[in-house]
Amino acid sequence: MNGLDLMPLFRGLLWTITLTGGAFLIGSVLAVPLLLARRSRVWLVRFVAMSVIQIVRGIPPILWLFIIFFGLGMGFLPVSPFGAALAGLGLIAAANMAEIYRGALSSIHFGQFEAANALDLGRWSTFRDVVAPQAFRVALPTAASYLIGLMKETAVASTIGVTELAFHGKQMSQLTFRGLEVYALVGLFYIALSLPVAWASRAADSRLRARVAR
């Protein structure tokens, strides 16, 4: 691999991490109201939330970025490539995280709710003290593997000109005519990036598991 200047790839790596972290943060926060709406007592609210989740997940990420960057960006609401990517991927992450939260919540035995009710805990207290700590542990491994998936998804941001890893890979392969090596390297960077997340998730999971082990 001699003769290749790897600095651009490292600069791209930084943007990939920023974009992934930002979108994941937006997603995990926005997912909470979406989840609450999804479990609302009013069927109309429930239906709207479900439709939003299905529509967001039903359209490919690249098209979302195009709709935001070219569709809204040209005229209605000028937006930078990074802003468009952050908004689009954040939206997608919110829909997916809402489903992950929902899965974790439904894994909690209804006896827990009944017990909380019998102890006369309020709705908020039931959520904070009983449900959330248990659901968090269940959601963690799924959320971590989604984070890795999201990190790979950020590669589509290169198509609207965000200078992240895949973008620099493309530029470098066009400059050097060594696509095979460059893209092998870029792929390796992505894999290397996912390793610490996978490791941290496994470590956290086994630690949390040990705490509730009987």
């Binding site: 990420p61 979302w64 569709g71 790979k152 590669a155 460059v182 893209y183």
Partner: protein, 220 residues
């Protein structure tokens, strides 16, 4: 902001022919990718160390690298090694690799979920390994794997949109082209999104339904 009727009729033929290419790429990627996944799953579980290492490498790279990078790797990378590939072939090769890597994990997990007594019984009956796989393990394993495989198929259908980056004239490319000519990006991209959603949303609901039914069978 929304497309009007004349626009829709003017754009539809172009979009539909792109849509057809998206569906073709999906079909061939799954047709090649899922059997490839089975082979990789068996390879990862094989006794031979070399076979296991090669299969594991193919799975980890196919899953670990973004589909976009796999596409570029095959489309841009292979010609620089002296092997020319068209964008359609490159798309199928990359997405089939991606499919194989993911489905191998799904299939492996479902094969491992079969109680070991089944395998022991097959051995006790003197079945050959291939017969054991064909008549005992696969019929039970694939039933478990089916919802996950279908769910993944929807993701691959959506992943065909990435072929935009290797100049395959599929749905996103067509929509983008129309947008760049007419400067009506928003309506045409919305229309393309509607076409994607018209397949992925019903398919997702169907997978949910099958998953629930499969769960009911398992809990009986």
């Amino acid at each position: 902001m929304l497309p009007d009727f004349t626009e829709i009729t003017a754009w539809m033929p172009d979009l539909m022919s792109g849509f057809k290419i998206s569906l073709q790429v999906t079909f061939f990627s799954l047709l090649i990718g899922i059997p490839f996944g089975l082979v990789l799953a068996l390879g990862v579980m094989a006794k031979g160390r070399v076979i296991r290492a090669i299969s594991l490498f193919a799975v980890e790279v196919g899953r670990g690298a973004p589909a976009l990078v796999l596409l570029q790797f095959i489309y841009v990378g292979l010609p620089s090694a002296g092997l020319m590939v068209g964008s359609f072939m490159a798309a199928i090769a990359a997405l089939a690799w991606n499919t194989g890597a993911y489905t191998s994990e799904i299939i492996r997990a479902s094969l491992l979920s079969i109680p070991s007594g089944q395998r022991e019984a097959a051995e006790a009956l003197g079945m050959k390994r291939l017969d054991e796989l064909r008549f005992i393990l696969l019929p039970q394993g694939l039933r478990v794997a089916l919802p996950a495989l279908l769910g993944f198929s929807i993701l691959i259908f959506q992943s065909t949109s990435l072929c935009f980056t290797i100049a395959l004239p599929e749905l996103v490319s067509r929509a983008y082209e129309i947008g760049s000519i007419t400067f009506r990006y928003f309506p045409v991209l919305l229309l393309a999104g509607l076409l994607y959603a018209s397949i992925s949303i019903p398919a997702a609901l169907l997978v949910d339904f099958i998953e629930k039914r499969a769960g009911k069978f398992a809990s009986r």
